[in-house]
């Protein structure tokens, strides 16, 4: 694995390798010294053209905990403000010889372009309505800790599917792990032909009971340039998940940030079914695992002197 551009490019084995690795980073997070020297001396650039709290902060902390050197650039206040193109910005940053570039951009395919322009491993931290793979991986990680396996589980993705890259990445990820996915929302907020991704579609919450997991999306009002819903109030009436609609055995998830009182009621957010806090906590471990898998395992550096377990020609002490 050289880049992480989308869940679509990952096999189930690759997904599981990242989740397993994240489990070992969970242990690092419990130590007094929550830092390992793995990526010492390597540079990671984080480049955010859209606002972000969780994703950018957890990627940055993940890089620091792996001992990498981090340069983090937000579009506002950088030369992007002065009209520099993405390509020129990437060319400039490439002068630092980064091992990885973490990028969030409002246009689908931006991460792919950066991967073509740069030698670095590129991690897509959200590109337009396309994908947000690290979010899907951390959701899988949080879910796996609660459920063990997703095989045959029913997952409902509810809300503004149209504007959501999380919906797309998670749909692919949930399916890859063997779950059955239903997307649910008003017809205006469900992309046409989404069934092609192998999910069912519902325009009401009537059959929400069947879901083992209810994954609620944020109503992305900032991306809505036309009127997709008659009114917030009407949306709340038909699609808000509250403690009345949520069954006691259903797991509630949300990628954050939550519009409290719109797609989720306050009592649902704070309910015992809610996995939202665990999702945030998983972000750091999973993003450490992603950086590790791309830079330490899949890295392509010239071979320095080998360690104990790799003397030529074969490892010692460990039968094949």
């Amino acid at each position: 694995m050289k880049h992480l551009l989308g869940i679509e490019q990952l096999s189930r084995e690759e997904i599981e390798a990242i989740l397993d690795r994240a489990e070992s980073f969970a242990e690092v997070g419990k130590r007094d010294i929550k830092k390992v020297p793995t990526l010492r001396g390597r540079t990671i650039v984080s480049l955010f053209y859209e606002s972000s709290t969780r994703t950018s902060s957890s990627f940055e902390l993940a890089a620091k905990r792996l001992s990498a050197d981090l340069v983090s650039i937000k579009a506002a206040g950088s030369s992007v403000d002065k009209g520099e193109s993405l390509k020129d910005t990437v060319a400039t940053l490439s002068a630092y010889e980064p091992a990885a570039i973490v990028i969030r951009h409002p246009y689908a395919g931006a991460a792919q372009m950066v991967a073509e322009w740069s030698e670095a491993a590129v991690i897509n931290a959200g590109d337009g309505k396309h994908e947000h793979p690290s979010q899907a991986l951390l959701d899988l990680f949080a879910l796996r800790r609660r459920l063990d396996s997703l095989e045959g589980k029913k997952i409902w993705i509810v809300g503004d599917v149209l504007h959501s890259r999380v919906a797309r990445s998670n749909l692919i990820a949930f399916k890859a792990m063997g779950a059955e996915v239903t997307v649910c929302g008003p017809p205006t907020l469900i992309p046409r032909d989404i069934e092609r991704l192998g999910c069912a579609v519902s325009h009401s919450l009537d059959e929400l009971d069947e879901a083992d997991v209810v994954y609620v999306l944020r109503l992305q009002r900032e991306r809505m340039k036309e009127s997709f819903i008659p009114s917030i109030r009407e949306y709340v009436t038909h699609f808000q998940i509250d403690s009345r609609r949520l069954g006691p055995r259903q797991i509630l998830m949300h990628p954050g940030p939550v519009n409290r009182g719109i797609e989720l009621s306050g009592d649902a957010i704070d309910s015992p079914q809610s996995l939202i806090t665990e999702q945030v906590a998983s972000g750091l471990m999973v993003r450490m695992a992603i950086l590790y898998e791309l830079l330490a395992v899949g890295g392509e550096r010239p071979a320095p002197p080998v360690g104990d377990e790799s003397p030529p020609p074969t490892p010692i002490g460990q039968p094949a």
């Binding site: 390798a17 007094d32 390992v36 020297p37 890295g299 550096r301 080998v306 360690g307 002490g317 460990q318």
Partner: protein, 186 residues
């Protein structure tokens, strides 16, 4: 590929018993001792030594295991595809002020041990670190010397030392296998 058995089941048992006695002799105050094994086979050997030491000292010593993947000096140099990924360290006692006996199966270049010592220090500041290995095959690349050695195995670099343990491999033995030569393959 020809394989020569150098330690059999009983030899291995006796060897570990001897190491346990040496550890007990060198550390007359068992309260300050702790045993930490290096994944994967070092951790299993540590378990056994821990049992033997517990009998000798009539007290339960703290035991832990440590995974050095994050501390390797060759990170990114190769894809350790065959390695299992779910390995985490487990040290749930305070190392500070203790004598830690680090346990590994085979001592070779010394790089694994260096990494393990570095990892240990992220958990606390042990008063002393000692090293116990089942086999020392030589070819050191770092100034590292074991305190307890089960067996010295003079080997060529091309040879391979295989430690097999009941818990993981269903059999207790140590063997040396010769490299596959071009003629043997032909």
């Amino acid at each position: 590929m020809s394989e020569k058995v150098v330690l059999q089941r009983d030899d291995l048992r006796r060897t570990l018993q001897r190491i346990a006695h040496e550890i007990a002799e060198k550390n007359p105050a068992p309260e300050g001792l702790a045993v930490v094994g290096i994944h994967t086979r070092g951790a299993v050997i540590a378990q056994r030594l821990h049992g033997l030491l517990g009998e000798l000292a009539a007290t339960e010593l703290p035991i832990g295991d440590i995974d050095i993947s994050f501390y390797r000096d060759d990170v990114g140099a190769k894809a350790p595809a065959a390695q299992p990924v779910v390995r985490a360290s487990h040290i749930d006692f305070d190392l500070t002020g203790r004598t830690v006996v680090l346990v590994d199966d085979v001592l070779y270049t010394g790089r694994t041990v260096r990494a393990a010592i570095e990892a240990l220090f992220d958990y606390g500041r042990p008063q002393r670190v000692q090293l116990a290995v089942l086999c020392d095959r030589g070819h050191r690349e770092l100034p590292i010397r074991p305190d307890y050695v089960g067996k010295n195995l003079p080997t060529a670099r091309e040879e391979r030392v295989n430690v097999r343990l009941e818990e993981l491999d269903g059999v207790d033995e140590v063997t040396i296998s010769e490299p596959q030569t071009a003629e043997a393959l032909a």
